[in-house]
């Protein structure tokens, strides 16, 4: 065996009442570089044990007054790791076996030769060192583990998600910081699962209970969405994950705040609903048009009869007036709906203007109204929907016509303006508007 302990002095203790053994062993072992203490009785042995730490102890089983076995027990109490080699003259092995049972490392039976002695001592010392090394490593490991657990705790504590554990007993384990941060509650009020269930939205409690039960049955539960009340009373949407750990004795849980996502989803759902409503409403507005026509027509027919009989028509007037109001409202709505449907394209203003004029041509000439159009041919194009613009021009021309019951002139001009605009003007020689009407002319 390599003498690997030589570089560092190993300290041995020999306890034997026989002087010759003490001297012989001392000399043999000292010559090998060991530091050797000797004791003839239990008292001096205990005093030495008090003073030093030994790498191995040679102990006679038979000592005056106190049995070596008893001393073995005392030694083990002092230093559980030290290897103790029992020396026995007893050819019966019973005592030696007993000694091994009590924690002796080995035993030597007299007579003991040098070779055997050195061999056993070397082995005992080596064992002692391996043991010490092992313990040191274990200590290191424990320290590292502690450090990594600390680091892990930090991760849990500062996570935006709430990470927790639930035990079968109902005990709820969570980092106080994390709980405070995530839901606002104090740790002492969240000791068991009941706290979690109490905070749960009444509609979601059952879902939560089922999820917990399933996880305890060994099945992980993913992405359950439920509402939990924060300490400040607001509801927080959570995505919950539960998974069994420690063979089902506990479950681990992660709760993630998804309130913002849920709000976004709701807004998107709402936007979609509005888009659908828009589509539906324009279809339904057409559908409402027919019954409105029937109502107005029938009311008109009845009113004619009622009038002929000289009876009051107030109620029928009201029906006709209100139906008319609804019809106009729906027309407006449909124009708006169409405006959103129609693409705006570059176009020359001449087109819709002339189209609108063409519709009124015969009327104008019959009522002695002349039209002068002065729109330059190189007028820039504008963005718009031709059909809608035609409607606009038509309305303006009809107004002009109504303003000139005895004939007159309509003048239309247009010019390019700075800031990429085109100015279009229409004037008539009609009755005009007073200030009050002018102020309200463009109201809805």
């Amino acid at each position: 065996m390599p003498n690997h302990e030589a570089h560092q002095t190993q300290r041995l203790l020999i306890v034997d009442d026989e002087r010759s053994i003490r001297v012989t062993f001392h000399d043999i072992l000292t010559s090998q570089g060991y530091a050797v203490d000797v004791a003839a009785d239990v008292e001096s042995a205990l005093a030495l044990l008090e003073a030093h730490t030994f790498d191995a102890i040679l102990l006679d089983i038979v000592l005056p007054r106190v049995n070596g076995i008893m001393l073995l027990e005392r030694i083990k109490a002092y230093d559980p790791g030290v290897p103790v080699v029992m020396i026995t003259g007893d050819p019966h092995l019973a005592t030696a076996t007993e000694a091994l049972r009590l924690g002796a490392y080995d035993y030597l039976q007299k007579p003991i030769n040098r070779r055997t002695l050195l061999h056993v001592v070397r082995r005992a010392v080596a064992t002692r060192h391996l043991l010490a090394e092992k313990q040191a490593l274990e200590r290191q490991l424990a320290q590292r583990l502690e450090a990594s657990e600390l680091a892990f705790d930090q991760v849990v504590e500062h996570s935006a998600d709430l990470i927790f554990a639930l035990q079968r007993t109902g005990a709820f384990m969570v980092s106080a910081t994390s709980l405070q941060h995530h839901l606002g509650y104090a740790r002492e009020h969240w000791q068991d699962v009941q706290a979690l269930l109490r905070a749960c939205h009444p509609d979601d409690v059952e879902v939560m209970q089922q999820a917990i039960q399933r996880a305890f049955e060994g099945q992980p539960v993913y992405d359950i969405e439920l509402r939990v009340r924060r300490l400040d009373g607001t509801w927080q949407w959570e995505s919950l994950v539960l998974y069994p750990v420690l063979s089902g004795h506990s479950i681990g849980g992660i709760m993630r705040d998804i309130t913002a996502r849920k709000r976004m989803e709701q807004e998107i759902r709402h936007a979609d609903r509005l888009a659908l409503l828009g589509q539906l409403a324009s279809g339904l507005a057409h559908e409402i048009g027919t019954p409105l026509n029937i109502i107005a027509g029938n009311a008109e027919l009845i009113r004619m009869d009622v009038k002929e009989q000289g009876l009051p028509t107030a109620e029928l007037d009201a029906i006709i007036e209100h139906v008319d109001r609804i019809t106009r409202l729906i027309d407006k709505f449909l124009t708006l709906a169409r405006a959103q449907e129609l693409p705006r394209l570059p176009l020359a203003l001449h087109e819709p203007v002339l189209d609108a004029l063409r519709l009124l041509e015969t009327r104008f000439s019959r009522e002695a109204i002349t039209v002068e159009v002065d729109m330059p041919a190189d007028l820039p194009l504008v963005l718009g929907a031709a059909d809608q613009l035609q409607q606009v021009f038509l309305n303006i021309f009809v107004n002009a016509w109504h303003a000139m019951p005895h004939g007159g002139a309509v003048t239309i001009t247009a010019q390019a303006c700075p800031e990429r605009q085109v100015q279009w003007c229409c004037s008539d020689t009609g009755v005009g508007m007073d200030a009050a009407h002018l102020a309200r002319a463009c109201e809805q």
């Binding site: 936007a271 979609d272 279809g283 409402i288 019954p291 409105l292 029938n298």
Partner: protein, 212 residues
């Protein structure tokens, strides 16, 4: 109703008939408006038991005229006998209307005018999967179909092939979310130039399921 005060007068001509028509047409308008409001109204958070047939009827009342105006024939096959589902009705209606609106556009794109094949089939029935009962709603159109490379993307938010026609790309992604919230599934099968079919499965309400 005010018009009924006419009873106080002698009615020489056909006033009664005119008045009846007025009442009847007013009722028609009221029905349409009520249906629209039910769908538009701020939704509640409550789930309730609802029959898929009722939801389909309500949805169709809103959209049938539009479909008919575009020469589309509706083939319905579902009964009121189906077990109920636990849901937020308006949201399921939103899904149905989205699917019908898509079918509508797919058919218009393929047949701008009337065609005998311009049909939307709407079916609902019981369907069993993994020992659970579902109501399966199928909406099938024989429109332009969805190319395979788009089929994986149609449930993505803002994915649309009709951006220029005002498509928002929200309909199917929102529908997907709604169906998921109801523990249901939606799948699509489509062949370009042939057909598109959406199958939506909603779990049958459990307490009722146990009785049947």
């Amino acid at each position: 109703m005010q018009i009924l005060s006419l009873r106080n007068y002698r009615l020489p001509t056909n006033w009664g008939g005119y008045a009846r028509d007025i009442v009847q047409e007013t009722q028609r308008i009221a029905d349409i408006v009520r249906e629209l409001l039910t769908f538009a109204r701020q939704e509640t958070n409550e789930h309730s038991l609802a029959n898929i047939a009722d939801i389909l009827d309500a949805s169709l009342r809103l959209i049938t005229t539009q479909l008919e105006k575009n020469g589309i024939t509706l083939e319905r096959s579902y009964s009121l006998e189906l077990p109920p589902i636990r849901c937020r009705m308006q949201r399921i209606q939103q899904v149905v209307l989205n699917l019908l609106s898509n079918a509508h556009h797919a058919l218009n794109a393929r047949y701008p005018q009337y065609d005998s094949n311009k049909i939307i089939q709407i079916r609902a029935g019981l369907h069993s999967r993994d020992g659970r009962s579902y109501i399966r709603l199928s909406i099938r159109d024989h429109g332009i179909g969805i190319p395979p490379e788009y089929q994986a993307r149609i449930f993505e938010p803002f994915f649309t092939t009709r951006r220029d026609q005002g498509g928002t790309g929200l309909g199917l992604s929102v529908s997907y979310g709604i169906i998921r919230d109801h523990a249901g599934t939606i799948t699509v099968a489509s062949v370009v130039g042939n057909y598109t079919q959406f199958d939506v499965d909603f779990p049958v309400a459990e307490d009722v399921d146990a009785q049947s």
